[in-house]
Symmetry: D2
Subunit: 149 residues, 4 copies
């Protein structure tokens, strides 16, 4: 039977990412294998997205004030070297692509420069009522020109 | 810029799965968008894995008694229709493939027969010391013959 | 310096509780000490509250349909014997008292009859706008007469 | 029926605390009432404890290297004003008392100087084997002299 593995390819060099958010792993996020539980990584990606948007001048409230929510429609994570309690993690993040109502973000998680995991998320821009809508212009402009910083 | 989407294809019919675990979403798992947070799905997949192994005669302790742990090395989830608080979810699960030290599981999440999400996880069999090892024979026999029930 | 310990006294016999909800601890809820993380207990209490209300004929939606939310204003837990992964826990729950806009619930957590923890929560009945309101009559009637079962 | 409320009295002025840890609430920690879920507060207390110990010169690894773990044996939280997504929270923390093998810590959670919650936790010093042991001298010296800074 053929092996099936995920096909997604975030850049493996941190220089390819315009932004990184540093956080420290919490004890509550560990599990009985003595490492950070794989589910906690999704909250790390989310925290990095929020901080990246803030750095771009779009804190969450401003996004919502424009009548937009970003729902998560796909997530993929590749766990390479386990994270452990009390480690400082740099979560590098970038907008990778956009098409129609959706856009994809990519991530690299590193500790002291060592890659521990990479990830991708796909988001849909939706109205507060939940209807798909075009991603806002500032997301499309990040894609066209790179981040405005 | 090309759209990038995940390529994984769990069967979309619940009949293709040998086992399903029913759970009820918890209020703690919801978020401020009023739906179940996307991160909670990983704990649902894990609960379904554990119950499936138990149904196969391999509760967690027995796996560990054989000197084995299953680490999670990849996760992918496609969110189709949001789960809401207090819904009863059927998490259908199957072993999809195995190769060398890794094996893949696939999932379908349904509420009252409606598909809400699908997912795949890739696992490595490791010794308690964390070294890769061949998946146990009973996993390989599930793959070769289908589940022993 | 005087020792300070919490003063709350849920009944220590499961017979004093009108209802118990059984759940199984999840791997995601464990921590690197190899036991269930102390924070996970709050989600167990909440799940037991929800199931108790359902058993009384008040599933969450019906509570909300009456224009009421129950906010948590105090929580206390006493951890006696650690819970471990994959254990089946009986969370016994009762309404202990009510006064004005608040009411208190008490809990006993047991595995195979052995007490592992006890707990108390205090709740305020609030309108959807967040204003304090009198607990609904059915909560007050549980207090006056005991549970209607 | 008498009202029962928790009796614990952390100082209500932030000046009474030798240390505060600032964190930002995460979206994953919110719930469908649009506020931070009450369970998430326990992880905030834990993060503040870890950072306080680090500031005292006792990062977690050093504690464990001394053969000690701190298990949580009691938790109490009083929720006063809800925390919301993306708020910056100062978690003030102090060692309040110690007796025999246990010690108590107290907390005040503030946003921009406004108290949102207070809390207390009781801990037992245990060996890695889980047997009660006296709290280490440095905890007892904090109690006797105040924090060494």
């Amino acid at each position: 039977m053929a092996e099936r593995r995920l096909q997604f390819h975030p850049p493996t060099s941190v220089e390819s990412y315009p932004f990184a958010h540093r956080l420290r792993t919490r004890f509550a996020e560990t599990d009985a294998m003595g490492i950070v539980h794989h589910g906690a990584y999704l909250t790390y990606l989310e925290a990095a997205r929020v901080e990246y948007l803030r750095a771009l001048g779009y804190p969450y409230e401003r996004v919502r004030d424009e009548g937009i929510d970003f729902s998560v429609i796909e997530v993929a994570v590749r766990y390479q070297v386990p994270l452990r309690f009390d480690e400082e993690v740099d979560v590098a993040v970038r907008v990778a692509s956009a098409k129609g109502a959706t856009f994809q973000m990519e991530y690299l998680l590193l500790v002291a420069g060592e890659v521990r995991a990479d990830a991708a998320t796909v988001h849909a821009a939706v109205t507060h009522g939940g209807r798909p809508t075009r991603p806002p212009a500032w997301i499309r402009s990040i894609l066209a020109e790179g981040p405005p910083r």
